[in-house]
Symmetry: C2
């Protein structure tokens, strides 16, 4: 990042939506100081291209249908020593996504509905070393954190596979009996898993866990 070149910087676009890539690439192509370096429709290809093309800037989609998602891709890149500026480009304004992205080494977080002119401005700012966030996100982040001072930080990662599966069932509104039937185990076992996941996630009831799971988009493993 220390050697970012604001003049004629190359940009790699990683997004699984061909039409959106098209829009971004055209925008880049029509701009003097930026040039499209390449595009990828999955995280895996993106990492590979990042190594090969050594772009100055990487635009990365968060939620991609196939293969690893944006966060995993981002972590992989940083782990493998890629030092390009990386800006997450997404439709999600969920605090969780923003926090995850910034913690995983993103240099910016922009919403896809950003005006193209503003987007270009952000990209330039980023190449100069600034951290860029779409309007309102910084404030949202602050208010989210300040609303819940020292509140528990719940982490899906703390759960075992089985607990995650059962949390998913909870988020579908299933009763213990139904979960037991679904997974073909005893209801007593279901209770044990629920007890453990409630403890880990610091919830007081299945309802709290269920609505949280929905907001996290928990899926079965």
């Amino acid at each position: 990042m220390q050697n970012a070149l604001p003049e004629n910087a190359s940009v790699l676009v990683i997004d699984d939506h061909p039409l959106f890539r098209k829009g971004v690439l055209e925008l880049l192509a029509s701009t003097p100081h930026l040039k499209p370096a390449g595009e990828a429709d999955t995280g895996e290809k993106g990492v590979e291209l990042a190594h090969r093309l050594q772009p100055d800037l990487i635009l990365l989609d968060l939620h991609m249908r196939s293969g690893q998602d944006g966060i995993a891709t981002l972590r992989k890149m940083r782990a493998e020593g890629i030092e390009a500026r990386i800006i997450v480009l997404t439709v999600s304004d969920a605090p969780r996504d923003l926090v995850d992205a910034m913690r995983s080494g993103a240099d910016g977080y922009l919403l896809k509905d950003t005006d193209p002119e503003l987007m270009l401005h952000y990209l330039q700012e980023s190449l100069y070393g600034k951290t860029v966030l779409s309007e309102g996100l910084a404030q949202m982040l602050v208010s989210t954190l300040s609303q819940d001072p020292g509140g528990p930080i719940r982490q899906l990662a703390d759960l075992t596979d089985r607990e995650t599966t059962i949390l998913y069932c909870l988020s579908q509104g299933l009763s213990n009996k139904m979960i037991a039937r679904e997974l073909d185990i005893m209801e007593s076992t279901v209770k044990v898993h629920i007890r453990n996941l409630l403890k880990k996630l610091k919830f007081h009831s299945r309802v709290e866990a269920a609505v949280w799971a929905v907001s996290q988009g928990v899926s079965s493993r």
Copy 2:
């Protein structure tokens, strides 16, 4: 629809993402038989433009941040006699969105991550009068319907103000005791409201109601 012109058809794009509009419009511009008629970033402007430009085909985003959303826009257009082919273009593969769109008068439902070539193919098919659905959606729709034949149509509107308030509390994961404290009424009264709303919405438990409420974005009245 009966007078669709597959040759040199004009297309209106309604989407609140500038870059995505850019991608779509460029795709259209580079295609012989289609020409961009205009673009709008809100449903309201879209309806207005649809009247003024009389396009042959309208591409409509479902979830737009500001103003009326895609479904409302679609219904308004049909109600006001707009006969253009209307294809919903969205990231959502939720059965509910698909069903709502088709019931509201859409002629097609395509996912935004569709390959551009395939997208063009679909647009042509639509102009010839065919109903177009992205791959897998038709099957998903069928399986959804067959899983749940004549399944209940839940309507927030059926609830009284008090029930809505309590449903909101449920969606926050509160227990009956907590709801009673929050609203300063007896726990027994809370139970009555919950019983009534469960009955109206045809749910079997508070958890089902809570996760549904979250997905509906229920807010307190």
